[in-house]
């Protein structure tokens, strides 16, 4: 099987970082042992369309990958190959996706791929394997096939990128712009702690990104998780952690490096929330969503200026985007405000709808202003370096620090480093 993660156009002006993708290796972990897999992440290497294979599998996470996925499918069809597709964006765009591939897999693949591969071997691959709403037992989630990564391609100047990891699936929140509860179920589904520990321990990387939508879904499980993983001495990034002194303290002890925290207003609560993370030694990358109906241009600028007062370590700005199967999509569709359905533009950096309190151009300008304003004194790369120094220092104190890979000091994601240029997307 040729397993492919299609490329997408990176947002201009932002620092280039390619993390080893999680979906494809989680999927590969559910394949029967007899399936020989060759993996290509097109974001870091070109696809060799002539490489021998019996079947092609496209794994896609983002809306901005789907059209490239269709192009890849077409290339393989010209060569007489069967193409199947799965993953988050295959599910979000299923009605279109099914028109471009031979077989579409909807849902989570644990416990299902034996049958699919048998169907393939017997020449009766189904057009759709529909497991939407039929969530497999969370205990059946096993280890990812991280052995498929070409590690040198996820390395920047000798520094290995974080590995992605998940400790739970599903979400009990139905946030306005998010489709996770549609995809993974509206219930929080934590993995058994012993399996999490076993899986995490097996990763040959001391730095992880725990990609769960929010760890703050069950306080007791969260505390148990942090106590259990602390001895592994991994350092990790995650989304929101429960706003509770005991939990935050346990998180730091368990290796919390920095978290993504939504900054949605200029309240004292937000200011204190960020401070509490910092008080516990945890860094904060603010995530700021621009273009909501309750935001005027001035509101957005006030919010951006506010970031300077709360001492964020990093900030990431996104434009509200109506991804299918979100309330945002339904609302804007009913109101006739979506003017662009080109999925390549659904990258959260481009306005595809009519904002309520400003023009699309004004929102685009506010977004550009946000990036420039926040990083005017210190670039994104410099701020990341500051966070990197903090984690490296902690690792040195704990005896887990790994030296940079000297063989890759002049390489960045598989390419020779051009020291005359910044590592920024054009």
């Amino acid at each position: 099987m040729k397993l492919i993660y299609p490329k997408w156009k990176k947002l201009p002006g932002q620092t280039t970082f390619n993390l080893p993708p999680h979906g494809p290796v989680a999927f590969a972990g559910t394949l029967p042992e007899y399936v020989d897999v060759s993996f290509t992440d097109e974001n870091v290497e070109a696809i060799d369309f002539e490489e021998d294979c019996d079947i092609v599998a496209l794994s896609m996470m983002l809306s901005t990958q789907v059209k490239r996925g269709w192009e890849i499918a077409e290339e393989y069809h010209k060569r007489g190959k069967l193409v199947m597709a799965g993953g988050i964006s295959s599910m979000l765009h299923a009605e279109e996706m099914v028109q471009h591939v031979d077989s579409l897999f909807l849902g989570e693949s644990e416990g299902r791929m034996d049958d699919v591969m048998q169907d393939f071997l017997q020449g009766r691959l189904k057009k759709v394997y529909n497991f939407m709403g039929q969530l497999p037992p969370i205990e059946s989630v096993g280890k990812c096939r991280r052995d498929l990564y070409k590690r040198h391609l996820y390395n920047h100047k000798g520094v290995q990128m974080v590995d992605l990891f998940h400790a739970s699936r599903g979400c009990r929140f139905s946030c306005y712009p998010c489709a996770v509860s549609y995809l993974g179920g509206r219930k929080f589904r934590p993995r058994p702690i012993d399996k999490v520990v076993e899986d995490m321990a097996s990763i040959d990387n001391n730095r992880l990104f725990i990609v769960d939508n929010s760890l703050a879904q069950n306080k007791e499980w969260e505390k148990e998780l942090f106590r259990a993983i602390a001895p592994l001495k991994k350092k990790w990034i995650s989304h929101t952690i429960e706003d509770d002194d005991e939990v935050l303290s346990l998180a730091y002890d368990a290796g919390a490096w920095y978290v993504y925290q939504a900054v949605y207003d200029t309240s004292d609560y937000i200011k204190e929330r960020v401070k509490r993370y910092h008080d516990h030694g945890i860094g904060v990358e603010g995530t700021i969503l621009l273009g909501l109906d309750n935001q005027s241009e001035d509101d957005c600028k006030r919010l951006i200026d506010f970031l300077g007062e709360i001492d964020l370590d990093l900030a990431e700005f996104t434009i509200l985007t109506p991804f299918p199967h979100t309330k945002t999509y339904d609302d804007l569709l009913r109101q006739g405000r979506i003017f662009d359905f080109d999925w390549n533009h659904y990258n959260a950096g481009q306005v595809v709808f009519q904002p309520k309190q400003m023009t699309p151009e004004a929102l685009q300008n506010v977004y550009d202003y946000a990036w420039k304003s926040f990083y005017k004194d210190e670039t994104q790369e410099q701020k990341m370096f500051n966070l990197f120094c903090k984690v490296a220092l902690r690792e040195m104190q704990e005896g887990t620090y790994r030296q940079r890979d000297r063989k890759l000091m002049n390489q960045s994601f598989g390419h020779r480093v051009d020291r005359t240029k910044r590592n920024v997307n054009l």
């Binding site: 509206r186 109906d293 009913r334 006739g336």
Partner: protein
């Protein structure tokens, strides 16, 4: 973010996109010889496809279950007020014309118009 029961007379299970088991709130009103079908989004209580995404497929299922002719009803989607502090969850009603082009498929109903229908 539970949807108040005042928004529906009954819960209506339906087959969502890709056969996903789904659920909405349902009210049917008769006013001046006309039938109004009002489906309400249930958010967390809806395990599957949203009423808007389900669109005509949901309307057909309601009509089949209730013995109605889809061409003879006014079909209304309700985004209920869930008492959230976020304004994105304010109440809205939209009349849906499945035969119209996408830009004119939905018409937001003014408060007095939906009040007149609901009180019928």
């Amino acid at each position: 973010m539970k949807v108040p029961k005042e928004y529906y007379d009954e819960l209506f299970p339906f087959q969502g996109q890709w056969d996903m088991p789904s659920m909405c709130g349902l009210k049917i009103r008769h006013h001046e010889g006309h039938t109004y079908v009002i489906v309400t989004e249930l958010y967390q209580e809806n395990p599957g496809t949203s009423i808007t995404y389900a669109g005509r497929a949901l309307a057909e299922q309601v009509c089949k279950a209730k013995g109605l002719d889809i061409s003879q009803i006014t079909y209304i989607e309700c985004a209920p007020d869930t008492n959230s502090k976020l304004s994105f969850y304010d109440e809205e009603y939209f009349e849906v014309d499945f035969n119209a082009d996408p830009q004119h498929k939905y018409r937001q109903l003014p408060a007095d118009e939906i009040k007149r229908i609901l009180e019928a």
